[in-house]
């Protein structure tokens, strides 16, 4: 008996008679602790207020699927959480819709970095040095210590990619955060970064998904790792004594975006408009330590929560903003060189 009423709209939907019944919105996120926080802070409230169903899909940032969907003109993803470099490049190449900012509120309400013609910032995240305080006698203070295998013996974990690591290597070699991209843009700077990375090579273990870094630290496979701050903070809330070093951390934003040709463009825009309100963003920041992009969202947050965000003044002081334009240009060549270097 209970089933019948649900079956009828489904049947009508299949027959194509009433396509507007039971609207669905497919939202693509990076999964893990981040996806779980999004479900509570963004999806569930939207389902209640809009009466639509949100279908979450996890991905690892691969743009190939979006490109394939857009080229085949059969887009099944409606809202995508995209990394800055992918968003910028995808916007240029016509993979993402340009957003109607008049429906999202004033651009001035957001961090300047969160405003893009094809996207609006979801949150600010950071990639920082993380360690297990139970295993080290003294706390490391920055990337120079990460490279110091005499004072801190043991393996280290880094993400298996050129991006972030070349920046970390230059900072370990004494380059100031503000100078990193200027140095890295020169051939000598690239050489220097790879040389420095080479020093650490025998002591490196690589991670690929965000969940691996805390996992390696907890398992004792490595003594230090680069890691996403939210994952480390989540592990800490679960009782692990993992800590972060904010000096020399690299922060960046993830963006809400709409793949070009999504059939639910209007609903998608309504979803984004609701997800970027200060209340929703503050709720998200309470669930996982990623920083809001709406300036008013900070007002409603506890100082304790604020102190753990990449946007906290003490944390951002010696941090570096990820330069997605640099990586859009140089990424392919540097990643190829990284692959060649790593294989030697």
């Amino acid at each position: 008996m209970k089933r019948a009423p649900r079956l009828i709209p489904a049947l009508l939907l299949v027959l194509g008679a009433v396509p507007a019944v039971a609207q669905q919105l497919t939202v693509v996120n990076f999964g893990g602790a981040n996806g779980a926080a999004q479900k509570k802070a963004f999806y569930e409230p939207f389902e209640k207020s809009a009466g639509a169903k949100v279908v979450p899909v996890e991905y690892n940032g691969e743009q190939a699927k979006i490109k394939a969907m857009v080229e085949a003109r059969k887009v099944t993803w409606d809202v995508v959480e995209a990394e800055s470099a992918d968003l910028d490049r995808g916007c240029d190449e016509g993979l993402y819709e340009r957003l109607d900012w008049s429906r999202l509120g004033g651009k001035a309400d957001f961090l300047p970095a969160a405003v893009h013609e094809c996207g609006v910032g979801v949150f600010v995240w950071s990639s920082a040095l993380a360690y297990d305080a139970g295993r080290l006698k003294e706390p490391p203070r920055g990337w120079a210590d990460f490279w110091d295998v005499k004072r801190f013996p043991g393996k280290r974990a880094l993400r298996k990619a050129a991006r972030f690591n070349l920046e970390f290597a230059l900072m370990a070699d004494g380059v100031k955060p503000a100078e990193v991209y200027r140095v890295l843009a020169t051939p000598e700077g690239t050489e220097r970064a790879f040389r420095k990375l080479g020093e650490l090579k025998p002591h490196l273990q690589w991670w690929e998904t965000g969940a691996q870094a805390p996992q390696f630290l907890v398992a004792g496979d490595v003594v230090m790792a680069s890691a996403y701050n939210g994952r480390i903070e989540t592990a800490r809330r679960e009782g692990r004594d993992l800590r972060l070093v904010w000096t020399g951390s690299i922060y960046d934003l993830d963006f809400w975006s709409i793949p070009k040709g999504s059939p639910n463009r209007d609903l998608a825009l309504r979803f984004i408009a609701q997800a970027i309100t200060p209340q929703r963003q503050a709720e998200f920041a309470r669930l996982i330590s990623y920083g809001p992009t709406h300036l008013k969202a900070f007002n409603g947050l506890d100082p304790k929560v604020l102190a753990q965000l990449p946007t906290a003044p003490a944390n951002v002081k010696d941090a570096l903003k990820f330069d997605f334009r640099f990586w859009s240009d140089q990424g392919e060549a540097l990643e190829k060189r990284f692959a060649a270097w790593a294989a030697q």
Partner: protein, 415 residues
């Protein structure tokens, strides 16, 4: 009945049978065409397809004809470029052009996009200057004003090189070759040489895994073949259960077993066999152990089916005639199982060549196989031409090996 009518009836019958056979085979043929031949064809085409520059910059390519990169590009090329870029209406087309050029010359992405935006902006200075300048008097200065990098010949070289609709560049790059400014084929500079080493490594890992599977699978298959049929089918289930389990689950299992605090290391430490945990994961050992485990059924099953057909009497006869049991095994059973060995090794080797997930999860950066680079280009760089070229190389290697096997196999199996 008349002979002619009978012949006619027979012919009709045989035609009906042929049609029925064709109708029965048609779904499979169609399925293979759509899921196998068409995608492979698309892959081969994508590996040489090069539409972006030819479509977006036809006049520039024309103006650069004959220019070989030894001096500054000719003056008309600047005007042609400004004209071509202004004529691009769709941002996606400008983006595709930017991506194509950037994959050969880092920095071309921002250069092309910034120039395109400046030229398309309705009242920009650059636009006005370029439009106002008579074609001959030079669009050079205004273009350089938009972005001084237009003074660097390397960007013009990639435009000139990619003017043709089809290109061998992806395929050349997939084996670490390139065309120099003069069009001659030359080696890649050493810091960009990567794919040949990865190809050799791919072949090496596949060979090691095949050998491992053979060494472990052969005795097991023989033991299975000597068991009574009912017991054998029960034991075979133990071989098949892992075969039906998801690869990811099995790889995750190996991570738990092999990590430095894992079961294997704890056992070794507790037994006092080692003093510090062995590095079993994120290196070649981990990759080979996990891949052998995953591919073992592909070795055991063909071996088992061949061995089942070997009459046990042969071995008994040889031993009863005074042969040493091992010698008897080597001279009677092994030759009869060559087809199983060949099939098993070929299956395992070819499957191993395409491995991606396992090395990515349990290997280090120097254990990644060619599919990893394919995935990197397809997913991260969105350079599908390069991904397809690497796929083509892998396909070619597989076909060559299969051809070799057929040739050797025929010699070996000849009665």
């Amino acid at each position: 009945m008349e002979a002619g009518a009978l012949r006619e009836a027979l012919r009709r019958e045989s035609r009906a049978r042929t049609l029925r056979a064709l109708a029965l085979a048609a779904p499979l043929a169609l399925f293979l065409l759509l899921t196998f031949l068409v995608p492979i064809g698309a892959l081969l085409v994508r590996a040489v397809d090069n539409p972006e520059v030819a479509r977006a910059l036809p006049r520039t390519v024309e103006a650069l004809r004959g220019w070989r990169g030894e001096a500054a590009p000719p003056e008309p090329a600047f005007a042609a470029l400004a004209g071509d870029l202004s004529a691009i209406d769709d941002q996606a087309e400008a983006g595709a052009l930017a991506r194509r050029l950037n994959s050969d010359a880092s920095g071309a992405r921002s250069l092309v996009m910034a120039t395109w935006r400046a030229l398309r902006a309705p009242a920009s200075e650059g636009n006005a200057a370029v439009q106002a300048a008579p074609p001959a008097a030079g669009a050079r200065a205004p273009l350089l004003a938009i972005d001084p990098r237009w003074g660097e010949p390397r960007f013009w070289e990639v435009i000139a090189r990619n003017g043709a609709r089809w290109t061998p560049d992806y395929l050349l790059a997939a084996v670490d070759l390139r065309r120099d400014a003069g069009g001659a084929i030359a080696a890649m500079p050493p810091e960009q040489t990567v794919f040949r080493a990865i190809l050799w490594r791919t072949l090496g890992i596949a060979a090691a895994v095949t050998l491992g599977c053979l060494l472990l699978g052969y005795p097991l298959a023989w033991w299975l073949a000597t068991l009574p049929a009912r017991t054998a089918s029960r034991v075979l289930i133990l071989v098949l259960v892992p075969f039906w389990t998801s690869i990811l689950v099995r790889v995750a299992g190996w991570i738990v077993l092999l990590q430095s605090g894992g079961l294997v290391n704890q056992g070794l430490l507790a037994a006092g066999l080692v003093e510090a945990p062995l590095a079993l994961l994120f290196n070649r050992t981990g990759v080979i152990v996990a891949m052998v485990h995953i591919l073992l059924p592909f070795m055991i099953l063909p071996l088992y089916s061949v061995m089942r057909a070997v009459p046990p009497d042969y071995l008994r006869a040889a031993v009863s005639l005074g042969s040493h049991p091992l010698q008897a095994f080597r001279r009677t059973v092994v030759p009869l199982t060559w087809p199983g060995i060949g099939t098993g090794c070929l299956l395992v080797f070819i499957l191993a060549l395409g491995y991606y997930v396992t090395p990515a999860l349990v290997g280090g950066p120097s254990d990644q196989m060619l599919s990893y680079s394919v995935a990197q280009y397809a997913n991260v760089n969105l350079n599908w031409g390069m991904a397809c070229a690497l796929g083509t190389v892998l396909l070619a290697v597989t076909l060559v090996l299969y051809g070799l096997y057929r040739r050797l196999g025929r010699a070996e199996l000849a009665p």
